[in-house]
């Protein structure tokens, strides 16, 4: 019973992942079988770092993406979850409004935000009278994309965190209140520490989603002109251009390396207490 699922997952996920790593050390023209490839060591990586202009901008963009998610969108979602955890009238309505974007695909979100960010017909320019091409101009488009992606991220984090807050033992808050803790103090000193597992999960989700960010920028302009991300570079090197397999694999391996650290942290948290 485990055999079939294992074959599917190993065959379609783990073997390809390993192949990406192996291919990154080779030169292969993509024609014929793998034995026709040469082992060239770290040459691909050296090329990626030194001779590939979009690489460092992409790394920077991913880092900015991560920082905005980490310092703005995720804390905003957590803050809203804390507010909505109180017994207030209309809490369900507020929750619904906030997480409605979570059911939409990021591709569609890119689409919808065009109605606001477009240079010609967008609402933003109509209201402010400016003439900025928000999704096209490379001074602004990363930030515009971040606004659109935060729209979804805030609701997503709010949902996860709210579920975590609901699971916190109620007597903890009462004890803190009886001891004369202010609410903010009770949150930072009592609630936040006991929610350590969910805090870590949210952290990992934020990191991994920032690394995987792809759909939104691909729909905007296929990840060019100020919107280069690691994920779009890998894709551009594979689809259509058969000669850059080793090179693309080196980029893919960079992604795998970064993500594996977070995956290990995630697994350690969620599997704690299991056999």
């Amino acid at each position: 019973m485990v055999a079939i699922p294992s074959i599917v997952v190993i065959g379609l996920i783990w073997l390809p992942a390993i192949s990406s790593v192996v291919l990154s050390f080779t030169r292969w023209n993509g024609i014929g079988n793998l034995s026709g490839s040469d082992f060239i060591g770290l040459t691909n990586y050296r090329n990626v770092a030194a001779n590939y202009p979009p690489f460092w901008p992409a790394m920077t963009h991913n880092l900015i993406w991560l920082l905005v998610m980490f310092f703005i969108a995720t804390p905003a979602g957590m803050f809203l979850a804390v507010l909505l955890d109180k017994e207030i009238r209309g809490s369900r309505f507020y929750q619904m409004a906030l997480y409605m974007p979570v059911v939409l695909s990021l591709a569609l979100i890119g689409f919808i935000w065009q109605l606001i960010f477009s240079q010609q017909n967008g609402l933003l320019n109509a209201v402010t009278g400016s003439n900025i091409d928000w999704f096209g101009d490379q001074r602004y488009n990363l930030w515009a994309a971040l606004v659109a992606t935060s729209w979804r991220q805030v609701g997503y984090i709010m949902l996860l965190y709210l579920a975590g807050l609901k699971a916190v033992d109620h007597s903890l808050r009462e004890a803190a209140a009886i001891d004369g803790c202010s609410e903010s103090k009770a949150f930072f000193r009592v609630i936040f520490p006991v929610m350590r597992p969910i805090n870590i999960i949210i952290l990992v989700v934020t990191f991994i989603e920032s690394l995987r960010a792809f759909d939104l920028v691909w729909i905007i302009n296929r990840g060019r002109n100020g919107l280069e991300l690691i994920a779009t570079l890998v894709t551009q090197n594979v689809v259509g251009e058969a000669s850059r397999i080793g090179f693309g694999s080196a980029l893919a391996t960079v992604m795998l390396l970064i993500s594996s650290g977070f995956i290990v942290i995630y697994l350690r948290v969620v599997m704690k207490g299991d056999r």
Binding site: L84, I88, L108, L115, G180
Partner: protein, 304 residues
Amino acid sequence: MSTLALDTSRAVDPSPVVRKKRTTPARRLLHVFLIVVSATWLFPLLWALYNSFRNYSYTAIHGYASFGGFTVSNFTNAWKQGDFTRHFLNSAVITVPAVFLTLLLSSMVAFVVSRFSYKFNLALLGMFTAANLLPPQALLIPIYRMFRAIPVPLWVNDSGTLLNSLWGLVAINTAFQTGFCAFVLSNYMKTIPMELYEAADVDGASVFRQWWQLTLPLCRPPLAALATLEVTWIYNEFFWATVLLQSGDKFPITSSLNNLQGQFFTDFNLLSAGSIIVALPTLIVFFLLQKQFVSGLTMGSTKG
């Protein structure tokens, strides 16, 4: 817990009387704040909805920030121009089998992991869960090559390989989602008392029957939640469909957005109507199956 976090008066007076009071200034401020945030959050979608009902010539003259010129023809036009019937069908052909297979495979893994205490259980579950978190782009090159090299009969796919085939997408989506579902289901299955299985053993039920007739019926709540969640996710899946399908007529609805953009570029009312049509299935899930969706999403982060 009835006052705003910023309010310090609570610290001075923790009496329960204060808690009952509903309309303190702090509370009113909280409501104002939440209403503003909610309105901001709803706005982009409402804006799309609003403009999807207005005709192009009216907005061309008066601009989009105006009122009037209502029509429903954008929806029929967008549907026709975007070839939505075909793309919705493609989405269904990918999503339905993929969700079904994902739940089937993941429930088998979860069952074995929670029913037996093998030493490799944890490693096995870890392998499945981690697979779900890998960046898909990092697997693109080998998957692309592999799919191009795997021959399938022509009645399965006209190109003769898994590349550019809807079944290839079913496979890759299943592989990616199985990990998450296996993890969530195994947490749930661990709460099923072992005595039930012992009784089933005594009654002579095979392991397969125990899974099918005992465990699965007991797991209806998480299965329903995961099915809702996975339908949304796979319907929303963009990356694999974009790179593994080459002919535009095979695209499911989400990745067909890429082509629609060019067609609707000049007419934002069509773009709005198209967006609403594409959002509709997930919005229906959102309104009708909210509870399932939320519990599916949060089950992965809070155990059980």
